[in-house]
Amino acid sequence: MSVEKRIFKIPVGPQHPALKEFEHFVFTVDGERVIDVGFRIGYTHRGIEKLAESKTYIQNLYLCERICGICSAAHQGCYAQTVEELADITAPPRGTYIRTLIWELERIHSHLLWLGVAAHEIGFDTLFMLVWRDREVVMDLLEMISGNRVNYAMSTIGGVRRDISDELKHKILKGLDILEERTKYYKEVCMKEQTILARAANVGILTREQALKLNAVGPTARASGVDVDLRRDDPYGAYDEVPFNVIVYDTCDVLARVLVRVDETFECINMCRWLLENLPEGDIRTKFARKIAENEVVGRVEAPRGELFYYIKSNGTDKPERLKVRTPTLANILPVCEMLKGGYIADIPIVLAGIDPCFACMDRALFIDENSEKKWVWSREQLRIYSIKWYKEHGNEVVRERWKQ
């Protein structure tokens, strides 16, 4: 057999058990080794950037929240704080503190969720189940504060929507104690369990130079020894007051990404405690005029996955002229392709999961039902009937074509 014939192309996605969302990667493999990686994104493109131009600032709060389910508070908070800057108002300290608290609780929830998914990707389902059980604690806390488990709808322009009572404060502190204890245990598991070490250490290497060159963000960059954290580097919210450490590991592999996130969870827990203990008195929000004069603002937050970027331009009406979102996963897509090259097929899932991808975030801007010649919108039922008809006529050819490749 010639060398060329042993080279396969393995498609991963749009539907694949390792990817929890729809994305398409094509891996060129030689045996178990990955030679090249191509990606195709956009399967969950919803047209949010365009849609935002036709909605008011208040409506957009809830639209932005729905860009991503897992980092919804980061999106909404970032949008709210950017619009505040645009309108030249400042949220009262208590509002800022509560917003920061939500951000940090969300980071705990996101990192634990990630740890579970990563364990699942390497076939460690026991850890997956246990971590997700303990994640419920922080989900319950968020529900107690905001009334919602996923899209918290806490931030509003000029502050937050709900206050935290003293009684609730005690409950949160209690929940944080449980979380800290469990996270300690998981850290021990991650550092000692031989099978995890075998699968995570020295896998998916992204060197510091590559991370800098390709502008990796968030925990992915910090695991490659790049000391960058927007909470410290571009302070917003209450972060210039809260004491915290930026966690940096320099082994550049998946294990480092695990440890960065686990250690960050400890930092988050401490920050939440500090925020609750030092919660200032006062209002939780200020008034906001519906119309905003012409202006433009660049807003950034450190979402659980890395740098989340908003650029908003106003035009004097109550709707934005332009709303640009850049989510951390898009920034990490080139680094992850770099990590995958030269690795094993078996390592694809854990390396992909290593950047904590959130594809729904990545593909916002447009949604369309269109055929290039005739233009119409199909109902789902019509589409279904058409597809059944089409496959009856062409199904076999298509399948045969596919097999020939």
Binding site: K213, A365, L366
Partner: protein
């Protein structure tokens, strides 16, 4: 914000004015850590190169494209995490002939962002090795770019 804390930002604006000369159109310090430099299209690449070399803004956050009606404005948001400074280089190109050179040779991460801007606003980045649509489907009609203001979502109905 206190005015004395903006010294570095002002220095950046002056520096760009000096380097770019006639190509420098406008420089603006919005607040601490936010600098906007408007340049002529010919000199935008020089400006970005200068920002990366002199001011160490190696991190390209993204490229934003804005439809201004006659023109399309491109904003390159560059960040230096250590100095906590964001320099935004902006330039306008005519909508009738939206062409601009790529910066992916200086900042490789621009590969993805340029594809996104091409996809949604139809700006052609000359020299980009693989300029395809990024997020829209393959069968989306040629030459239709939905983030342009004249395009309405109703058009597809």
């Amino acid at each position: 914000m206190l005015s004395e804390s903006l010294e570095v930002e002002k220095e950046i604006v002056d520096d760009f004015k000096k380097i770019l000369g006639a190509d420098f159109i406008d420089g603006q310090v919005q607040r601490k850590g936010r600098v906007y430099i408007k340049v002529k299209t010919d000199a935008y690449k020089k400006a970005i190169e200068h920002a990366v070399e002199k001011w160490n803004t190696y991190h390209l956050s993204t490229i934003s494209g804005v439809d201004l009606g006659e023109n399309i404005e491109l904003l390159y948001h560059l960040l230096d995490p250590k100095a906590k400074i964001t320099i935004t280089i902006r330039t306008e190109i005519p909508k009738s002939d939206p062409k601009i050179g790529t910066v992916s040779d200086i900042l490789p991460s621009a590969l993805v962002y340029e594809r996104e801007v091409y996809d949604l606003l139809g700006v052609i980045f000359t020299g980009h090795p693989d300029l395809r649509r990024l997020v829209l489907p393959e069968d989306f009609p040629e030459g239709v770019h939905p983030l342009r203001k004249e395009w309405k979502p109703e058009e597809v109905k």
